[in-house]
């Protein structure tokens, strides 16, 4: 998912780190809110959040907790964590942008497990019906959820067919290839009549051998020891 966010912030999103309220900004919503830690790092990297704020993560009373809390000054447009809701809020904003004849786009990053939520499909149907082309969903398909692989219950292999059937322009990409992600997002910008779903195939825990595809790391704590193991592995691979 961090690869997707990096491409969005590097190449796609219109934003002004010095003026997060900028009226021309694109809107980014992290609907799979539990991945917010990776997003905080990106916001910090791209200047929307300073280091002092970043370091308050998960300290008592902090604005930065384990799910996004709306904070426009930090570029966090919506509170999420209750899955299946970001796309609907994003659709309302995208519709409003269209009604105001503005040139702005809305991007919503979702999970494949999140697509189990029925509310996602209420929105998917109406966004296509309304022809909202300035709305793009990016589905992070890592095939794992809290309790394990998607294949054991409610398989998500059918997601491309489903999004297509709902009337969306579907683009499948390698969710770790910055080049493919960027191409997909640029193609989405050219589609004028319907919303686009970028289905990004990813590996959960990508980049750390013992975390990849290991659901123990869906929700876990990186201790100092683990952190050092990761650095060691990366140094060996460098």
């Amino acid at each position: 998912m961090v690869d997707i966010l990096c491409v969005l912030y590097e190449d796609i999103l219109m934003f002004d780190a010095n003026n997060p309220y900028c009226k021309e900004r694109d809107i980014f919503i992290l609907s799979k809110g539990h991945c917010v830690l990776g997003w905080y790092a990106v916001l910090n990297e791209f200047g929307l959040m300073n280091k002092a704020t970043f370091d308050t993560f998960q300290t008592n009373g902090s604005d930065l907790i384990a799910h996004p809390v709306k904070n426009l000054s930090l570029g966090i447009e919506s509170s999420n964590g209750s899955l299946g809701q970001g796309l609907s809020f994003g659709l309302g904003i995208a519709l409003g942008i269209k009604k105001r004849s503005q040139e702005r786009d809305v991007y919503v990053v979702m999970g494949d497990g999140e697509c189990n939520e029925g509310a996602v499909w209420e929105t998917a149907a109406s966004a296509a019906e309304l022809g909202i082309a300035n709305l793009t969903s990016i589905v992070d398909i890592n095939n794992l959820r809290n309790d394990g692989p998607n294949s054991t219950y409610m398989n998500t292999k059918t997601l491309p067919a489903i999004w297509t059937a709902f009337g969306w322009n579907v683009i499948e990409v390698d969710g770790h290839s910055h080049c493919e992600i960027k191409q997909g997002l640029e193609e989405a910008k050219t589609v004028q009549t319907k919303p686009t779903a970028i289905l990004a195939h990813t590996i959960k825990g990508k980049g750390v051998s013992f975390m990849e595809n290991n659901n123990e790391w869906h929700h876990n704590r990186i201790t100092k020891n683990v952190y050092e193991r990761i650095l060691e592995e990366w140094q060996q691979n460098a």
Binding site: K70, S82, Q85, A125, E129
Partner: protein, 324 residues
């Protein structure tokens, strides 16, 4: 601004609050291109037929999808549209409850969510469509104002007032066609202030929504004799008017609350909570409503009669309190 006169009050009463809601939005849309009316396949039930034809760009039917209704409405509210979203009360408050919590509560997006035909208004449609839990659910979500207009003029006042009010609002429509008229002329309406209709007395009746009209008839019949009963319109169930609550101490012994809602969590509960917070221990609150059950359905008049919320029953219950 419409001229609020007795003739219009009678006309609107005959139409009922849902049709009037649509008509009010129609009047406002004539001069407000920023107004958006959304519904989840209940545009007709919201009186929005003509609105949707004459202002198609300001109307959106999202289909039978209440969760999406609330999400889209919140997004449009973020884009600074004046958003009204309507569906039947249980679907607004419970089916879409989590969306209401996240978007209107947690995020404070200023949607006006309209719970149509709440209470017992839907008669033979039964408990799947009654609004007996909406106030309880929404009261527990921080930051949502809950208004239950007594009649069509109060609905008009409440919609007008919402334009200069910050934050999300749930507007609870109760009653049906030919609902009793409480207000037949222009009057001062303040979202945050109760309207004392009959001076607070030892026994004072509290009501809101369509029940208020029946309560007013009952109280006036009693006051025509030598009894003295107070009557207060607590149209805004949350936040409760704290000054009013504080003013009760020493001036009232019994508050009798009537409501088309489960007695758990509704207006009566809100009054008890407010008295408790104000540390007023000298007033007894007696609640009448739906007694934590799903009642057998029938037409509206049958329902309010069988549940003791019609004029005669309300009057008898007040007499019981006076005599006890």
């Amino acid at each position: 601004m419409l001229d609020l006169n007795p003739k219009l009050a009678r006309g609107w009463s005959r139409m009922g609050p849902r049709a009037v809601y649509g008509q009010i939005l129609y009047e406002l849309a004539k001069t407000n291109p920023n107004l958006m009316a959304l519904s989840a396949d209940l545009g007709r039930s919201s009186g929005l037929d003509r609105f949707s034809k004459d202002f198609p760009d300001q109307f959106l039917n999202v289909g039978i999808a209440e969760q999406n209704l609330v999400g889209i409405s919140a997004g449009l509210a973020r884009m600074e549209f004046d958003v009204f979203a309507s569906t039947f009360a249980p679907f607004a408050s419970l089916r879409a409850g989590d969306q209401v919590r996240m978007n209107m509560g947690y995020m404070q997006e200023p949607v006006r969510l309209v719970g149509l035909a709440s209470g017992l208004a839907l008669g033979f449609l039964g408990n799947s469509h009654y609004g007996l839990e909406d106030v309880a659910v929404l009261r527990s979500i921080p930051g949502i104002t809950i208004i239950s207009p007594a009649d069509c003029f109060e609905l008009y006042q409440c919609i007008l007032a919402s334009f200069s009010y910050d934050g999300p609002i749930y507007i609870r429509l109760t009653g049906g066609v030919n609902m009793p008229i409480v207000y037949d002329a222009d009057y001062e309406f303040n979202i945050l202030k109760v309207d004392v209709l009959r001076e607070v007395s030892d026994v004072t009746v509290i009501a809101a929504g369509s029940t208020l009209g029946y309560a007013k008839q009952a109280v006036d019949q009693l006051n025509d004799t030598d009894t003295k009963v107070g009557l207060v319109n607590v149209h805004t169930i949350k936040p409760i008017d704290k000054d009013f609550i504080a003013s009760l101490e020493g001036n009232c012994k019994n508050l009798v609350v009537f409501e088309e809602h489960n007695v758990i969590g509704g207006l009566g509960s809100a009054i008890i909570d407010a008295l408790d917070q104000a540390k007023i221990r000298s007033i007894e609150v007696i609640r009448y409503g739906v007694n934590d059950e799903y009642p057998k359905a029938g037409d509206y008049n049958y329902m309010i009669k069988s549940l003791g919320l019609d004029t005669v029953s309300i009057k008898n219950k007040i007499i019981e309190v006076i005599q006890s």
